[in-house]
């Protein structure tokens, strides 16, 4: 029996995903553009379809300053505090 040291770091507890709503009716939906080229095309179409097929209370559009970095904390807090459903999308 030989003993070695684990080179990996203990990762935080796996996070659970948030509960999914059964319906989008009456919900605030945020569409997050990560700033990749043409992401807005995709999100425009998603917004169209949402308005056509569901009755959200509001659709909010947000945008990350750059796709290359995680969303800034202020943006995350705005989203957490102001939305029921988040859809993040990119196109390339």
């Amino acid at each position: 029996m030989s003993e070695y040291l684990d080179p990996t770091a203990p990762v935080a507890q796996p996070r659970k995903t948030a509960r999914r709503p059964s319906s989008l009716d009456g919900k605030v939906v945020t569409l997050l553009d990560i700033s990749k080229a043409k992401g807005d095309h995709l999100l425009d179409r998603i917004e169209e379809l949402l308005r056509e097929r569901a009755k959200p209370k509001a659709i909010v559009r947000k945008k990350k300053p750059t796709f290359a970095r995680p969303a800034p904390d202020t943006l995350r807090q705005e989203i957490v505090g102001g939305t029921d459903v988040l859809i993040e999308a990119l196109a390339d």
Binding site: M1, E3, L5, D6, P7, A9, P10, A37, T66
Partner: protein, 474 residues
Amino acid sequence: MTDEGIVAVVKRDCPTCTLVAPVLEDLVVRGVVSTIYREDEEDGLEASWRLGIETVPTLMRGDRRIVGWSRVQWEELTGVSGLGEGLPDYRPGCGSRTVEPGLTDELAVRFSGSKLHSRRVELAELEDEAEAFFDRGWTDGLPVVAPTEARVLRMLGGTTRDPEEVVAGVAPDLVECTVEKVAVNAVMAGCRPEYLPVVLAAVEAVCDEVFDLHGVSATTNAPAPLVIVNGPLRATLDVNCGAGVFGSGWRANATIGRALRLVCVNVGGARPGEVSMSTLAHPGRYTYCIGEREEASPWESLAVEHGFAPGDSTVAVLAADAPLGVYDARSRTPEDLLATLAASLAVVSHHKMTHWGDTLLVLSPEHVTILGDAGWSKADVRRWLWGRLQRPVRELLPGRDGGEGLPEHVLRKFADPAHDSTPIPKFRSPDNIKIVVAGGTAGRFSAIVPGWTFSKGSALVFRPIRTPQSGGSA
């Protein structure tokens, strides 16, 4: 232990220790010597190891140590005269058990192994270490040196930093990475203990927010952190700055870059094909580390240019593509040579990509001599290149000579882009063209190392290398 007054360390099979045994017993009886540590007993051996004893007998008070028997010195230290009547004036000591070959590592594990906090992984005798580590996903695809406690403790000897000290949170998992965890990965990469401070500095540098390791590790683009070493440590550690600088064959370059990669994968979680989704990547993701050949440069080094003293040893990290070789054997004037280099710099990322950030120009000694002999400074070179690397809006339209081009929000600023001759720079500023000298003395070859440095992207980051010799918490 240094508060104990005068203590002695001895072992049984040392003739000098036997010779002075009655003297020591006498000093204990007189209350002059508080403790005799005997290396033949476990607690005596541990005390000797902790005191860093190399020779027995050692008589010591605080930092003052006398090795072997010397009547004059023993009398001076103890303040007792007439010691060891009938003994010779002087006898050399013997080697301490703590420095016996094979025992040193074992003692390190026995007496300080418990300070290591990493989970222990047990492998059965018949398991192959290299296979077992590969199977767990802890390698870069090449075999690694198995990180035993003894090897990790020896690696930690390269720094005086506490193994528990958090070096940084490593993206993308943002897990806190300790000095110990860097040491484990440095062992696996094949580092010598004296390289550890360089690896620690490189880990700190890539975890600086400016470097954007999250993006570097997760992008579909190809960057790898290039580590550039400056300062006197290059010579001490034999970091290659000369012939074959980007190639294989130098342990320091090969293993420092590799250790950084293993930290990114094992601690940061940047596993290729899982989180790290680069479409192509490049071989620099195995290892990517060079030294600047400061001695062949007519200019101040990259580090000095960025505010460090010539005596400082530093790392700089650049999120970088693979080097692009530039061959020019016939230029003999700065203008000719720089025209060649500019043409290759123009195609970095894409020939119509503009407002690019930090990119590295690696000038070979023969090329830089052309510039230095003509009296050009680094700033002159940068300004010339930056001025040359401008193209009119009309040549940067998307869908002409390739689909890429100026983004729509920029094009909207011009009434008639198709005929507009406003110059747009390839690089945001002359300062984004970083210059080092490296490579063999023969050969008119230089290289461009494109950065992954678009607007709001990554940039060059420096960190000083803190060695035990450079003082402070190295």
